[in-house]
């Protein structure tokens, strides 16, 4: 009599991967990573990655401020101002700190200030990527 589960039988595996479990770390890591660049990696004991991300994003943001870059406000009105705000707000705590201290409020008056503005926006966008990476580590999608 044939065995229904012979050794040569290929066991069908589901083609769709199971849903990722929602853990407290999968919420905390990206949130903290957004607020403090690199912190999402640090709380998951990715020390070198976290410190490199923190240094890169924070230094980029500070350089942008030192170059007299403009920090966009939430109520810009103009579509480009809104996009600039979305980029800036990605820096999380750095953006909140700059708003509280009134940094980056001057108009863009020379080329270096324009570079600074781009630094500020890109620092925020890179932090969004960093926070997403922290989430992927938290759910086990990335080592």
């Amino acid at each position: 009599m044939a065995n229904p589960t012979s050794k040569n039988e290929v066991v069908a595996t589901p083609s769709k991967s199971p849903d990722q479990p929602m853990t407290s770390m999968s919420v905390l890591a990206p949130a903290l990573g957004w607020l403090v660049p690199g912190a999402g990696h640090l709380i998951q004991r990715r020390w070198i990655r976290g410190l490199l991300l923190m240094a890169s994003i924070a230094v980029m943001f500070v350089l942008g401020l030192l170059m007299q870059g403009h920090v966009y406000q939430p109520n810009g009105g103009d579509i480009l101002d809104i996009l600039g705000f979305i980029g800036d707000v990605g820096a999380g705590g750095l953006y909140i700190l700059s708003q509280a201290a009134g940094w980056g409020q001057s108009a863009i008056s020379h080329a270096t200030a324009d570079y600074g503005t781009k630094y500020l926006i890109v620092a925020g966008l890179l932090n969004f990527i960093s926070a997403a990476d922290a989430y992927h580590i938290a759910i086990g999608k990335k080592p």
């Binding site: 991300l53 890169s56 630094y119």
Partner: protein
């Protein structure tokens, strides 16, 4: 305090920081991250030089 970087210095620093973040976030193993970061840096700087020469040619 005001920092006045040249266009090239600003592009160089931008490339360094962006390459570090891209390398770490877009690859899994340490070796792949380093290689991808170096690749991104080379592409950024290559793009700077290509764009610079193109603008020089357009200006003439």
């Amino acid at each position: 305090m005001t920092l006045a970087l040249s266009h090239f210095s600003a592009a160089l620093l931008f490339s360094v920081f962006a390459s570090v973040v891209f390398g770490i976030t877009q690859r899994n193993t340490s070796r792949e991250q380093i290689l991808y970061g170096l690749y991104c840096f080379a592409m950024f700087m290559g793009g700077v030089f290509v764009a610079g020469w193109l603008m020089w040619l357009l200006r003439r």
